[in-house]
């Protein structure tokens, strides 16, 4: 406020100073050209406009006014020449009461005093001060009122978020903040964005919890049968009297143990894939990755009596991938195809690069999955009943799903007419 006031005042004085100095220079020039009579004439002409605050006076050496408008006696003696100053001058009304801004110039034996009484800009200034005070009061009132409204509004919006957090904390993971801006990226205000983020976080938490439950259930289920077999074989081995047969039985124990170990390491790999640091991923050529897999698995597929086809798009862009996990995921898909679609007689490995995503595909000619069952199959990580006949298959698909998500992508099931086409879809922007 004070700053604004000072700014206005300084500006007004600056303006007055400029006008006064300009005017006095003009008058001095007139004096030089035409002497006192010309100056007096000019002043008289100026008087006609009736501006009562104006001062233009020629003062003699004893301080008396010789010509112009101004106090009759300026002081005892001629005023000292000055470019511009603010002060009182003269001994009679109205010049005694008010300050003036004026210049004093030497013109021959005289002094030329020119300037303006301060009253009009002083009034302006008072007006400004009153306006400023009013504005301050008004803004204070508005501020208090607005503050109350905003506080209530913010409180209400935050309460909605707090309610959801409270609900989640007490175990209801399905609670979400009602969010009208949902589905409009960048839409809504900060609260909507907070709600969107919170909902996304809850979605992820809920999915992780569900997944954890599925993996744990699945693991317990999957571990039961090899452990049962392990136990049975151990029993047989213990009871075996013949050393050669006992050794064979022991070999069987090792195979079952390895199976259990493999399932455990797959599960660890799945849970780790949720939190793999980004620096584990590196830009690599997806075609080279697929060719290496084709090279490793081609003979395996052919030896199992199936045809193996590879369709890899040439010159794909580099993609940021976790080479080993991606390879393992695709290997799992091939393994699944080998197990469930052997009668189809064909496995096709494909890499398709779209405008904004890459599809790593494994297609077979097996029984496929009916369209109605696909969504559920994906949700339950391929834990279909057919998969149940082979231990660990559910975990394998769970790993594929986790790897797809690690890369910001997804798992897709499609119709290969006939057969199943499973694709790990990775966005190219990631």
């Amino acid at each position: 406020m004070a700053f604004v006031w000072k700014l206005v005042r300084d500006q007004a004085i600056d303006e007055l100073r400029r006008d006064t100095v300009e005017e006095s220079e003009g008058l001095v020039a007139i004096y030089r050209a035409g002497g006192l009579p010309a100056l007096a004439r000019t002043i008289d002409e100026g008087r006609a406009n009736g501006d009562r605050s104006r001062i233009v006076a020629v003062i003699a050496a004893d301080g008396r006014r010789v010509a112009g408008i101004g106090p009759a006696i300026v002081g005892s003696g001629a005023p000292a020449p000055t470019i511009f100053r603010i002060g009182r001058m003269g001994d009679s009304s109205p010049w005694l009461e008010r300050e003036a801004g004026y210049a004093v110039r030497e013109v021959g034996p005289y002094r030329l005093v020119s300037g303006r009484l301060l009253d009009d800009w002083e009034q302006e200034q008072q007006g400004i001060e009153r306006a400023l005070a009013a504005a301050m009061l008004l803004s204070l009132a508005l501020g208090i009122g607005g503050g109350l409204i905003v506080t209530r509004y913010v409180g209400r919006r935050l309460d909605r978020v707090a309610d959801v957090i409270e609900g989640v904390a007490s175990g209801d993971l399905s609670r979400r903040v009602v969010n009208p801006a949902a589905g409009h990226p960048g839409g809504g205000d900060a609260f909507d964005r907070l709600a969107t983020r919170l909902n996304a976080m809850l979605d992820k938490t809920e999915r992780l919890m569900t997944e954890l439950r599925i993996v744990t259930d699945g693991l317990a289920h999957d571990l039961r049968s090899p452990l049962a077999r392990l136990r049975a074989k151990a029993e047989v081995a213990v009871l075996q009297a013949d050393p050669a047969q006992r050794e064979a039985a022991m070999g069987g124990l090792l195979i079952e143990t390895d199976l259990v170990m493999r399932m455990l390491s797959t599960m660890i790999e799945i849970t780790r894939a949720e939190s793999v640091p980004r620096d584990r991923l590196a830009p690599i050529d997806p075609a080279a990755l697929m060719e290496e897999i084709a090279e490793l698995y081609g003979p395996v597929i052919e030896d199992s009596g199936m045809r193996f086809e590879v369709g890899i798009e040439a010159h794909p862009p580099q993609i940021v991938l976790h080479r080993e996990l991606m390879t393992q995921a695709i290997a799992n898909l091939i393994d699944n195809a080998l197990r469930h679609a052997a009668q189809g007689g064909e496995i096709r490995l494909g890499l398709v690069i779209g405008p904004d995503e890459a599809r790593f595909q494994v297609a077979d000619r097996g029984p496929g999955i009916a369209e109605a069952d696909r969504a559920q199959a994906l949700r339950r990580f391929g834990r279909l009943d057919v998969a149940r006949s082979v231990p660990g298959a559910g975990l394998g698909m769970a790993l594929v799903e986790a790897v797809a998500r690690l890369h910001g992508g997804r798992l897709e099931l499609g119709d290969h007419a006939p057969g199943l086409i499973v694709a790990i879809v990775i966005p190219l922007t990631a």
Partner: protein, 233 residues
């Protein structure tokens, strides 16, 4: 049998694993010394008198990776094999990047461990001697590493690039057991367990090429362990 008794340092805090290792390795003809924490391990290893260090990754005092770092920083180049229950792909790669010569996940089969120890010693010996060899021969099998050609009893054998790498690896470890995981790691650079019989299929193809039309087998299956390239059955 090694010409001189090799000395192995075991740094393992789990006493039953440590005893199992010490017993098995002693029976295999190695001189074994054990300690149970990272600081003692570092102290013993710094003497530089061991031919191999087998270290657990999670140790009291100083973990295996940090201990290995300190040993390497002290200028001791003793080959080191890390044993760990941390078995994800990234864990393995971290262990190898930390300067370990090999990484084995617990629980392991003893056959896998001895195969890897043999491979490390073979590599060390080769570093001293035949490192720059341009030809390898196993019985009547001749491998030209520069021309990448293979002949058995003078008859050329056509191999694919990967088959050649596989054969070269087996030949460099001729007479020793090479496990499936060792081949997956060295030939294909994969550190996960593919679960199915992928390596067996590749070995089967290689074996057919090496043995079809010849009287004696040369690529043997070692039950419960892996494969061995050798003229002796």
């Amino acid at each position: 049998m090694p010409p001189v008794t090799r000395k192995i340092l075991i740094v393992e805090d789990d006493s039953s694993t440590s005893a199992y290792l010490a017993k098995g390795l002693s029976e295999a003809g190695f001189a074994v010394e054990s300690c149970s924490d990272g600081r003692d391990g570092l102290f013993l290893a710094s003497e530089g008198i061991f031919d191999l260090i087998i270290a657990d990754r999670m140790l009291p005092g100083l973990n295996g990776i940090a201990m290995l770092g300190a040993i390497r920083a002290a200028g001791v180049r003793t080959p080191t094999l890390i044993l760990s229950a941390l078995g994800t792909v990234d864990d393995r790669i971290d262990g190898l990047n930390a300067g370990a010569d090999d990484y084995l996940v617990k629980p392991f089969s003893f056959a896998e461990l001895t195969a890897r120890i043999d491979a490390i010693f073979r590599r060390v010996d080769r570093g001293a001697g035949e490192g720059q060899a341009t030809r390898l021969s196993v019985g009547d099998l001749e491998i030209d590493l520069l021309g990448r050609t293979v002949a058995r009893a003078g008859r050329p054998i056509q191999l694919g690039a990967r088959e050649f790498n596989l054969l070269e690896y087996l030949a460099r470890h001729a007479g020793q057991v090479v496990t499936r995981t060792m081949m997956l790691e060295k030939i294909w650079n994969y550190h996960f367990d593919p679960g199915s019989n992928v390596v067996d299929v590749h070995i089967g193809r290689l074996r057919r090429k090496l043995e079809e039309g010849f009287a004696a087998p040369i690529l043997h299956t070692v039950r419960g362990a892996g494969y061995r390239l050798s003229v002796e059955p």
